[in-house]
Structures are given as C-alpha cells and as structure tokens.
Amino acid sequence: MLFESSPAELERLARSLDAAELPPDLQVEVGALDNSPQRSLQPVVLALLGQGTYVWTGENRGFGATHNLGMRDAFSAGADGYLCLNPDAVLHPRCLEELWTTATLPETGLVDARTFPEEHPKPYDPETGETPWCTGTALLVRPAAFTASGGFDEALFMYGEDVDLSWRVRAAGFLLRTAPGALVQHWVEHRPLTLERELRVLRSAAYLGRKWGDDDFASRYERLFRARAGRPLEFETPPSRVPAAASQVADLTHGVRFARSRW
C-alpha cells in the first residue's frame, strides 16, 4: 500500500523483492495499491515492478480498507496467501520463504515477519512461533482467516487494525505465528511523534477498548485524547462490541502494546 511514497524507498523495496529466494512451488505476484492524491507514482512503480500491477485507489482509505480491497481481489483470483507490506520496508532475501513455510503450518491464520533492527517486543513461542497478535508491517493472511474474519475493521484508519484483526482471527479458532527467520527491515523509531500521529494512536486504543469490552481501558485513552487534542473523542463509526466469549482473546492489560513486553 502506497501513500506519497518516495521513489528511493520504493526502489529499495523493489530491490529486496528481486533478491527474494523463493521455493520452486511458490509463485509471487506483486501489486501496488496507491492511496496518493495523484497517480504520479504509477510510472515509477511499473518501472520497478516489471510484471506487477498498479491500482490507484483515488483516495486515502487507510491501511485496513486498502488491504481489504487487495485481499478480496487476490483471494477471489485463487491466491493462497496475501502479504500486507509497508512500502518503507526492506525484505531479507529469505523473508518470503520463511513466511510461507510458517503459514503452511496447521491451523495458521496470520503470520508476521520479525521487524528489524528493532524487533517488536511482544513475545512469541520460540519453538512454534505462536504469538498473541501479529504486526502489520509484513503480515501474511491466509484466505480462510480472511473469510472467517471479514478482514480488517475499516473504521480503524491507522494503528491498531492489526491487533484487532489478530484477535478476531484468533477468536475464529486460528493460530497466529511469528516467523522468526523472516526478517523485514522497518525502521521507524527515529520518526518524530507528531500530535496527529499520537491522536491516531489514542483514537485506535480507545476504539479497541470499547470494541473488546474494556471500558476502563477505553476511558483512559479517551481522557488522554481530550487532554492532548483539546476536544472530546468522537467516533465516525461507533465500535460494535464483540461477543463476550470472543473477547477472551483480547489483552488490554499492557497499554497499547497489547501483550507482555520482553523489553
């Protein structure tokens, strides 16, 4: 998914896709979904991708809605997996193979790559790869998990949509796994925390709290949103609460990390 991405960034990503070592039985098709206000990235993307596809969506739909569009197309065409991939990422040459090998383990719904050089501090089982939720930087979705969950919640524009999808996929009976050998460079720690970005995080946190049945959690982030924004938080689409049985998979006891932190 692209949004006013820099050509240098896309070139880096394309180079890493070119360098990918794939098993003979895995065919990969690359598609770019561009949410930029103009089509100006089209020639850049097509020159870099070679045989890939480019779709200009015409508006900034947000992470989840854009990938839902991509997943519907891919799965209706018979794809066995769909990789949500950030344009500012660089894949290790073995990343795709490791993701796919892990995705074919029994009952697997989602697989995330290990972010590099700053690995996400959420835990995973070193033997099985099982993890409480999957990050969206490089996230492989199996078709059955998409069908069972309906994909991302499109009311979450940015931040937290991966957590929400993870919990719904788990609640539907699938396992989530991290593929520790699938490295994806995605370095964002140096980016300044702007007020706009902070407010999006707080909005998503409060939304998840309401949706997953923890009103105290939601209130904490609504109060903080009000303090930071100077206005109360209002949802365009109010979250509908998941059934109590499903909400057992949610973990809102670790703030916006949504799992125990290793560091």
């Binding site: 290790h92 903080l224 990390r257």
Partner: protein, 254 residues
C-alpha cells in the same frame, strides 16, 4: 553529487551461529548514506555458509563490497573502521551518524548501545529475551566499554588513527582498542541507542560502579514506559511538567 563517506567494517564470527552472521550482514547492507567495505572472518567450517550469505545479501545494496577472510590491513579508501562481532546490529543511520561525529579532531565515535540477551533455539534464530540500555559517559573509556566482549561494534575509529592490523579474537579486540584509544580523543554520539550488542559476558552479576550505572540507565528508560502503559494520562501530564521544568532550567542557564 558528492560521493558518500566510506567505512570498512570487519565482521568476526566467534561461533558457528548462522543467524548472528545473517543479521549482522543484513544490518550492514542496509546502512544508509555510506559506502561500505565489509570483510567477514568466520571459523573454517562456516566459510561456505558465510559465502552464501554474502552472495544473498549483497544484492540488496550497490554500495557495499563484501568479502570473506581477514584482510592484512584496512581498505585504502575507508575514512573510518569498525569491528563487529556477529550478532551485532545497528540502526540504518548508525554509521553515517557516527562518521559525522568523528569531526576534525578525529575522535573515536562511541554510540549508545543496548545489550541483547538471547536464548539459542536449534535450527532457528536465537530468541531475544531482553534488551537493556547501557550507561555511556561523555568520553567512554575502555574500562567502561570492554565489559562487553563485542564492544567494538559500538565504536567507529577514524582510519588515520586506527592500528593498521585487523583484530580477530577477544584479546586482540582489547589490544587493538587500547592502541586506538591512546592516539587521541573519544566522543559519545548523542541520541538513543543505535547499536544492539549480543550479550556475550560470562559473568552478568552486578559487581562494579559501571554495572550499577547500567542498571540505573535501563531503569531510567523502563520506568517511564511502565508508567505510560499503566496510567497514560498521568504519564502524559508528568511528561509535560518535566519538559516545562527542563525548558525553564535551560532558559535560566542561557
């Protein structure tokens, strides 16, 4: 357009741990804003794997030259040199920022770092159990640094004052550093930790003032994060108050 600054990194594998080598190489080929020569020294039985890893990863960058073996001396065009132990990883801007910190004084640049404690997992990458921040003084000396066997990974030495020989073993790293440190100033690169060093210490007990400083440095980072998770609103208020007080103190100092 001017060409980017150049550095030579010698990467040493002390053990046959494929993922340590793979991750260090991945980190090196994704360094930004710097032309790199990387030499890779590994135990003989591990050479074939290292060759394959280099062939795999060199495709990610046009500005990195990778070769296997310990060269007799540093690359002639390198402006600065570093020695990494396999398992060391850095942020993509680490080398370019460290190079910029060397300055006209030709100071050894030392970056803030974290120790990474890992658990070996057969056939898979090591599982990272813990990352802890290390204390860094403004001009870090070898007593402070060398408690980590892989400490040279957080240092960048100007080529003009680097000993010409290329170190391999733990003892050689210490000897090489002693020669480099004796030649001039050392400076700490400002900012958050840019390098993660594998925690290869044989003894992890708190034994010295430096160890206590490390514990406090990590606590100083972790305590606010803990509060942020438990009480985000109170954390935000305290952070605002802290920044206001800091602003007042700095204004008074000016």
């Amino acid at each position: 357009m001017s060409s980017p600054p150049t550095a030579h990194v010698h990467l040493v594998a002390w053990a046959e741990e494929p993922w340590d080598l793979e991750e260090s190489l991945f980190s090196l080929v994704t360094q930004e804003g710097v032309g790199l020569t990387v030499s890779v020294a590994v135990p003989v039985p591990f050479e074939r794997f290292a060759l394959e890893a280099c062939a795999r990863l060199c495709r990610l960058s046009a500005s990195v030259a990778l070769s296997i073996g310990t060269p007799p001396t540093w690359a002639a065009d390198a402006e600065a040199v570093a020695v990494w132990v396999a398992g060391t990883v850095a942020t993509p801007d680490h080398l370019s920022r460290a190079l910029a910190s060397i300055g006209t004084e030709r100071a050894v640049a030392v970056v803030p770092a974290r120790r990474v404690l890992r658990r070996a997992v057969p056939g898979r990458p090591p599982y990272e159990l813990r990352k802890t921040r290390r204390y860094a003084s403004s001009a870090p000396g070898l007593t402070e640094l060398a408690r980590d066997p892989a400490f040279l990974g957080r240092c960048l030495v100007p080529a003009a004052r680097a000993p010409r020989w290329v170190p391999g073993s733990v003892d050689e790293h210490r000897r090489w550093a002693a020669e480099a440190w004796s030649e001039g100033p050392v400076t700490r690169v400002p900012g958050p930790p840019a390098v993660d060093l594998p925690d290869l210490r044989a003894d992890r007990r708190v034994r010295s003032v430096d160890d206590v400083r490390d514990v406090l440095a990590d606590l100083r980072y972790q305590a606010p994060r803990w509060l942020e998770r438990r009480a985000p609103l109170e954390f935000s208020r305290l952070r605002g108050l802290y920044h206001r007080l800091r602003g007042l103190t700095e204004a008074r100092r000016d």
